[in-house]
Structures are given as structure tokens and as C-alpha cells.
Amino acid sequence: MWWRSPSFILDRQQQQEQNDSVPPESLFLTSAAPSMADSLQNPKSNISAYYQTRAAHHGVVTSDWLAQAQAAVGRHSDDDDSSESDGRAVPTVGGDGVSGKAFSVIEEFNNWRKQPDLAEAVAAIRALAAVIRASQATTMMELEIELKKASDSLKSWDTTSISLTAGCDLFMRYVTRTSALEYEDFNSAKSRLIERAEKFGEISCKARRIIAMLSQDFIFDGCTILVHGFSRVVLEVLKTAAQNKKLFRVFCTEGRPDRTGLRLSNELAKLDVPVKLLIDSAVAYTMDEVDMVFVGADGVVESGGIINMMGTYQIALVAHGMNKPVYVAAESYKFARLYPLDQKDMAPALRPIDFGVPIPSKVEVETSARDYTPPQYLTLLFTDLGVLTPSVVSDELIQLYL
């Protein structure tokens, strides 16, 4: 709106007089052009590692790529095992110093993260647990400081991953709380923390099962579910429903550019669930056949809205317009203390899109990988804390963090 207003035009004219390099015809695009041009020229600069990894996890691949990948994975998993142990072993080599440790945290995290079944937050927590294990601190305060440093470095390494940030914050919160516990022996306190961190990994899987169980009541025989994006939680929900012999069918959106729909439809076909693939633009066309929309979430924000793969907002809007419920399945460690006011209010998470044909350099591409769905378009959130309405998220966050 600002761009169409007279004030904006006046401003732009002032800028042009100063710059003299911006052609006046591209009045409306110039403000965006510089930033975008930059990003086109340096595509690597803001690429969200989080979404890259997710794409790597969930992207559908051609068959020869698959062959190569499998070969690589075979090698890589060996590497993984060894590097994990290395990851743990390395910090214990004395004299590495803090920077060495920090670096190894990130490596550790990356190693964990590459496992497709593990959630980001859990990988982060496992990495932080490794830090504790490897730490040479002798008091709780020292340990906390080390952990804080490691956590900050993890967070800054990838600012776009919300569950990573949320997971780190949760773990830090847990640590600072339990440090109030009186332990005679520092080592026993340390081992307790490690134990808790390990348990956190199990919590992730358990969380998914709890959510799957809670959502069974909402899937009735003969229903049609629209799914967007590839969420492991949603997959678990559908798997459980299939195992409970419910009769339902699923519409998957194609989910470009990651093509998550293809992957999901593969998985569902294995479960003998009738699946229909839609292109992203066909959502409104098929919405009246749909009974409910199921999505996962990359992060659940304080307002009760969710941040999820690009396209979720669109689908939620259409569903809301046609009075279809939108259900979100998210674990409670994804609750983050963010509050986006609009789509652009988040840290940008860009991911290059391959159109298959070369794009002329003058053309910008919207490469954001995620969008924000405000809480008024969501019906219910299925979490391991229970089935919640969006306004409860803030309640939980206040109790957790304040």
C-alpha cells in the first residue's frame, strides 16, 4: 500500500535525485530490486540451511540420483557413526579450547541432523548433550556458560530454523532450572543432565505417537484429508489411522519446489491409503471435497499461528473461506517465543528454486521457503500436551519461559 501512496513516490523521487542511477520506470520494483538482485547474484548468502536439509531429506529424487544417493548414504552412514564417536572423542582431546568445542558442536549437530527421522530440536539437544559430556567444567556455572556459548553458536549458525532455536532454549531453560538442585557431586549433576538430554530424543518419538493417538478421534471413516508439506508427525498420524483400519483418503499437494507431495504419496501408497496428488494451484478447486486439512509446523509462534512450508497460509485461507477445519500437528518443543505480525516479520529463509529452465537475470524470484499462518485460520493444534486451541500456546509459553 505504501508503494502506491504519494508519499512513497515523493520519497523515491528524492532517492533517485540522490542516486541518479535508478531508472525511473522501474519505480515500483526498485526498492525490492537491489536486495533481490543481490540475492540473485549471491544465492548462497541467505540460503536457509534448514530448508536445504529438509529438501535433502524429503526431496523426491530421480532414480539415477537415488542410486547415487544410496551409494553415498551407505558411505555416509559409516562416516556418521565414526564421526559421531569422533565428535564425542574430539572435544575430549585436551587443549582444543572453546572455539574448537563450538565448532564441534555444529559438526555434531550436523551429524545428528542428517538422520531423516530425527527432529531438528532433538538433534540440537543431542549435540548440546555431547557438549556436556565433553565438557571439562568443574562447576555448574561453568557448565552453564559453556552450554550457553554452544547454544548461541548453534542458533547463529542457522538463524532460520525455529525448532532449533526453540530446542536450544528449552534445553537451556531446563539446565538453569535443574542447576538449582543441590547435588553434592558435580558429576552426578552432569550425568543427570546428560541423561535428560538423551531422554529428550525419546520424547520426540513419543511425542509423535501421542499426537497420533490424539488425532485419531478426528479422523472418521470416509473422510478426505488434505495434506501439505512432508511432516513426519502428520505421517505418523496417517499411519496410525491406517493401522486402525480407518477408511479415508488423502489429497497431497505437490509441494513445489521440494516436491514433498510426491514423497508423501509414496509413503502413503505403501500403507494402502488412497492418495491423490494435486498441483498447488488446485487446492481451491478441490477444497469442497475435502473434510479437513492437516499440516505440520516448523514452529508454533506465540500468537498461536504457525510457521510452515510456503503454501500453508494459502491453503489455510482457502479452507477458512470454505469452512473447513485446519488441524496442525506439532510437538510442544516447537513452541517458540516469536511473534510475527505479518509475512515479512520473520527472519528470511531463502531457498533457491529450480524452474528447470534458465531465468533471465532481470527477473526476480520469490525464494522464501516458509510463510506464517495467523491463528484465526487454524482450528486446533494437536500437541503432546493435548489438543489445544491456538490461544493456549501463549499460556504454555508463559508458563514455560516466564
Partner: protein, 604 residues
């Protein structure tokens, strides 16, 4: 309780909406055969103006005793009560009753609550040992003879006027009646401002009963200013005898009338005459009255600092405990401040905190230790809840300002001003639109301060809000208080700005410290509000040529009423986020904060 219900009341007509006030009501004569104290011989209060004053929108008077009681002197409780029992009780109309004789049955079908409170108050009235005679004319009351529609409207109106909330902080506050066996009024006043409750507790039985009686007049639990009797009583007790602007708008009769601060020299001369009133408190009260101090935070801080001085200068009189006596002293200060200007909600919360701290003082402390502890508590409150809270809010809110933003603000909120200046210091590039409105024109002060600091500003009045809104990216508003259902109670005009912003999909950020949150729920701007000076509506300062309303004839003045409201209630749907010192929360989480953290500072 049923036995005590007295229904034999001269119904009082409450006119709402457009009506032509007419000749003073004719007294129906002592047609009441009733339960009044035998020695009462004054005609029933109020009511029954000539029937030709009837207009279609008039609401029939609720049948209750209040007006008779007002006329009565030295009531005798028992016989009255006994008599009362015989008469028509709630909901049942006894055609033989001839209060007005002509009244049609449904007129008595008023909400139960109102009746029981009526009875309670009437009972309380009976217990008055020494009541003064009250004015017996109900201002502008018209007697309603058109039956059918009214009971519903009355009931509806009274239902509307009976919010579950607390008593209004006004005048001599409604009694919490702690010791009164009557449950209803005390339930209703369960969460009144502590000021009023404590003030009530030290008052005599007679006073409490008078308030009950007043309560009865106007069913809502708040202090109602409609009844001449109550108002007269308050005037007698008031320290300041300020003239009040007469409020003639019926719908807002229950609000305290505006005090004209025209007698400043006279009041200043009284400065040394008031022995019970600490000079610091008196000074602050005068500042409120004159409008020199405005804004929730400023008023609260000034009040607390005045109390601090008063506490420092306080010494316990012999034969009294510090806790009780100091509490009563604070209550008297508070009543005085209320006379000057009704309390804001932030002040109410601060007073509640202070009284709680006084009550929690360990008994072993010596007087000087206790006073020092209290002063440091007050300092801590101001520091933690206001000063530091503001800094935290500014930090949070500044993250929501990006380069290229156009920020709109309304009126003059100190927190919003701090946010804008801070963001400017951080080097963010943004434009500010300051929206202002008559008659207070508070935005001009804000505009001046922002321009001095070098921000690019636009200034407009509220009638241009939909014109400018399409350019705006964020709206920052302050609040006087936020209620438990997420409703924002703020300067009048805020609701309009928020509504237009919502229509244009512009996010609205409310910046408010957590100590201003309140458990009350308010659905509209009518039941709880504050009236300003009605003369300010007709006059535009600096423009003597705009004088169309100056030379009205008396007749014309009868038909024209000025209404100057100070506050309004913005529904939570229009609000995107509330920025508090506990972080950014959605409007639905206000009761969570109240629940989790209200206990904290009360229990410290």
C-alpha cells in the same frame, strides 16, 4: 431475605434517550400506605411528573424504596421491615399496592438483583440512626405510564447496567460492607477498588447503609450519581467543594460528573487549613483537578510519591496500631483524590498493592522501620513496575519497527513516545503519523516532542483516519488498562483507530505495562467511563469565530446536551499483539498474566 424485601417504592423514572424534560414532577401525594417508617411524612421521592411528560422511549421506574427513604428521617427498622414483608416482593405485583396507584403490573417486574439490593439498602437505611433529609426531587424524572414495553427495557437496562465488575471509583465509594450480613451487595462489590472497600470499612454503619441505599437506586454496583440524595451526601462530606458540570445525558448519568477546576486560588488558599490531609496529597489532587497531570503512569507515580511523603511524615497516634491507622489514612487520601478526579485503573492497582504491603507488615517492626520498609516498597514498585517495565517494553516493541515503516499513533502515550524515540536512536528509518482529536488535542504535545528529536512526522485529526490508513504499516497505541477479556480501555478514539486499522489489515500493537491489567471484564464503553468537561465541546480554543453554540436560548439549551467522554473500550479482535514487560502476548493471554503474576507482587 425474602421477608426483608420491600417493594413499596415510588417508582423512579429513568429516562434514556431523547426526551423533553418538562415541568417538575407533581408529587403523587402520600399514596403509599406503606411500609415506610411511621414517622415519615414527606411525600415519596421523585417520580410522577405529569403524565404528559411521557415519551415513547422512557423507561418505567423500578419500584424501590430508595426515594422514599431519601425523604425519611430517623427510620425505625423493625416495623418497616415487618411492613415491607407484606408487600409485593420481587417479581410479583400486588395490585392492591397503590404506590402510584396507576402503575400497571409489569412495572414491578424488575430484575431480582435490583430488588434484593433495594431491600438490603432499604434495610440498611432503616438502620441509620441519624439520617438527614434528602432532596426529594428526582432530577428530570418522568413518570412512566406506558406499561408494557418498559419492564423489559428496564430489566434489560439494568442487566446492562449490572456488569459483574467492581464498584465505580467515584465520589464516596460504594461500601464493600464487609460486616453487613447482606450478601448481595457485598458479592457484587466483591472486587471493588480497595480504596472504596477500605474506605467503607472505617465508615460508620450509617454511612454504609446510606451507600446501600444508594446502590439500590441504581442497580449497577458502581457508585451511581443519579440520585440527588447520594450526591448531596457526598458533597457534604467532600473536602473540596468544587462545582460540577451538570451531566444531563441520561445514558451516562451513572458516571461521576466532571469537576470544574475553576476555583484554584480558593483551593490553594485552603492548603494550610486541612489538617487531616497531607499537603503533598493535596497538591497532587489539585494537579489532577486542573488537568496538569494526565496519563496513567504520571498520575500513578505522582500519587505514590505523595503517599511516600505522607508515610514519612506519619506518626502513629497513641492507642492505635500503625497498620490500621495508616490504612485508614491512606483511604482518606484516596477518597480525596477521587473527589478531584476519578481514579485510573493503574492508580487503583497501585493502591491495592500499597494497602496489601501495609497489611503484611510484620508487627514486630518499630514505627520507623515500618515506614522505611513501606517507602522502599513504593520505590520498588515504581521502579519495577513502571520504569524498568517501560524499558523492557521499548526493547520488545522496537524489534517490530523496520526500515521504511510508517507508524501511526493516536493521542499521546508516554510508552509509545519512548518507543519511537528509541527506534530513532537505533537508526531505523521510519515515518510517524500522529493522529489527534478534540477536545484534548494531546497529540500536539507528542508531535512537538518527536519533531524536536528529528523524526519525520505527519499530523492529522481522527476524521482523516481512513484516508491515511492505507499508507500505514503499523499502529502503536497506548492503554490506560487492559481487561481480562482482552478489551483495551484507553483514550476515547482509540477504538476507532484500531477498527480502521483492522479493516485495512494493519497490525495494531498495544503497549501497556502489566501492572495496568485488571480482572474486570467490560463489554462496552458505557458502564464504566469518565466524563470530561462538556463546555470543551462547544468551544474551540483560539478560534473565537466558531461560536455557534454560544448564544442559545434557554429553550434551545434544554434540547441540546453535551457529552465529553474520556475513555473507550477497544474489543480484542482489533488488536494484534500486546507488548508488556512480560513480552509480547496475544490479547487472549491477559488473564494468564493476571493469574500468574498478580499474586506475585501482592505476596512479596
Amino acid at each position: 431475605m425474602d421477608g426483608r424485601r420491600v417493594s413499596r417504592a415510588v417508582p423512579r423514572v429513568r429516562q434514556v434517550g431523547f426526551f423533553t424534560p418538562n415541568a417538575p414532577p407533581q408529587q403523587p401525594g402520600p399514596t403509599r400506605s406503606q411500609s415506610g417508617p411511621p414517622n415519615s411524612n414527606s411525600p415519596p421521592l421523585s417520580d410522577s411528573p405529569a403524565s404528559n411528560s411521557l415519551s415513547p422511549v422512557m423507561i418505567p421506574p423500578p419500584r424501590h424504596l430508595s426515594d422514599n427513604l431519601g425523604a425519611r428521617t430517623a427510620a425505625v427498622p423493625v416495623p418497616g421491615r415487618a411492613n415491607a414483608g407484606e408487600h409485593a416482593t420481587v417479581g410479583s405485583y400486588n395490585p392492591t399496592e397503590s404506590v402510584l396507584g396507576l402503575e400497571s403490573p409489569p412495572a414491578s417486574r424488575i430484575g431480582d438483583g435490583e430488588f434484593s439490593e433495594g431491600t438490603e439498602s432499604s434495610l440498611g437505611w432503616y438502620r441509620r440512626s441519624n439520617s438527614a433529609k434528602f432532596a426529594s426531587s428526582f432530577p428530570g424524572g418522568g413518570f412512566d405510564l406506558s406499561p408494557v414495553r418498559q419492564p423489559e427495557t428496564v430489566a434489560a437496562k439494568q442487566a446492562k447496567n449490572q456488569p459483574p465488575g467492581e464498584a465505580n471509583k467515584s465520589g464516596t465509594p460504594g461500601a464493600a460492607a464487609s460486616s453487613k450480613p447482606v450478601k448481595q451487595p457485598s458479592q457484587r462489590k466483591d472486587g471493588p477498588p480497595v480504596a472504596s472497600s477500605v474506605a467503607a470499612s472505617e465508615r460508620t454503619v450509617a454511612d454504609r447503609s446510606a451507600e446501600k441505599e444508594r446502590k439500590k437506586d441504581a442497580p449497577p454496583p458502581r457508585m451511581q450519581f443519579d440520585d440527588e440524595s447520594r450526591v448531596g451526601k457526598a458533597k457534604r462530606r467532600s473536602v473540596l467543594n468544587q462545582s460540577e458540570a451538570r451531566n444531563r445525558v441520561e445514558l451516562f448519568r451513572h458516571l461521576p460528573p466532571h469537576k470544574n477546576g475553576t476555583q484554584l486560588p480558593h483551593l490553594e488558599s485552603k492548603f494550610f487549613e486541612l489538617h487531616e490531609m497531607h499537603p503533598a496529597v493535596y497538591k497532587v489532587g489539585l494537579q489532577y483537578l486542573m488537568g496538569d497531570l494526565s496519563g496513567g503512569n504520571a498520575r500513578c507515580i505522582a500519587m505514590l510519591q505523595a503517599f511516600q511523603e505522607a508515610i514519612r511524615d506519619y506518626c502513629t497516634p497513641p492507642e492505635k496500631t500503625l497498620i490500621r491507622d495508616l490504612t485508614s489514612k491512606i483511604s482518606s487520601f484516596v477518597s480525596f483524590l477521587i473527589e478531584c478526579r476519578p481514579l485510573s485503573i493503574s492508580m487503583g492497582n497501585a493502591i491495592r498493592f500499597l494497602k496489601n504491603r501495609i497489611a503484611k507488615l510484620p508487627l514486630v517492626l518499630s514505627e520507623s522501620e515500618a515506614k522505611a520498609a513501606l517507602c522502599s516498597d513504593i520505590d520498588r514498585f515504581i521502579n519495577e513496575k513502571i520504569v524498568v517495565a517501560d524499558k523492557v517494553i521499548v526493547g520488545h516493541a522496537a524489534t517490530k519497527i523496520r526500515d521504511g515503516d510508517v507508524l501511526l499513533t493516536y493521542g499521546s502515550s508516554c510508552v509509545v513516545e519512548m518507543i519511537l524515540l528509541y527506534a530513532h536512536e537505533l537508526g531505523k528509518q521510519f515515518h510517524v503519523v500522529v493522529v489527534d482529536s478534540r477536545p484534548m488535542l494531546e497529540g500536539q504535545k507528542l508531535l512537538r516532542r518527536l519533531v524536536e528529536k528529528g523524526l519525520t512526522c505527519t499530523y492529522t485529526h481522527i476524521n482523516a483516519i481512513s484516508y491515511i490508513m492505507h499508507e500505514v504499516t503499523r499502529v502503536f497505541l497506548g492503554a490506560s488498562s487492559i481487561l481480562s477479556n482482552g478489551t483495551v480501555y484507553s483514550r476515547v478514539g482509540t477504538a476507532s483507530v484500531a477498527m480502521v486499522a483492522h479493516a485495512f489489515s494493519v497490525p495494531v500493537l498495544i503497549c501497556c505495562e502489566a501492572y495496568k491489567f485488571h480482572e474486570r471484564v467490560q463489554l462496552d464503553s458505557i458502564c464504566f467511563n469518565e466524563l470530561g468537561d462538556p463546555d470543551a465541546i462547544g468551544k474551540v480554543p483560539g478560534r473565537a469565530d466558531i461560536n455557534y453554540l454560544d448564544n442559545l436560548t434557554e429553550k434551545q439549551k434544554e434540547n441540546l446536551e453535551f457529552l465529553n467522554l474520556k475513555y473507550d473500550a477497544t474489543p480484542s479482535d482489533y488488536i494484534s499483539v500486546i507488548v508488556t514487560d512480560y513480552g509480547m502476548i496475544p490479547p487472549t493471554s491477559v488473564p494468564v498474566i493476571v493469574r500468574e503474576y498478580r499474586k506475585e507482587y501482592l505476596l512479596i
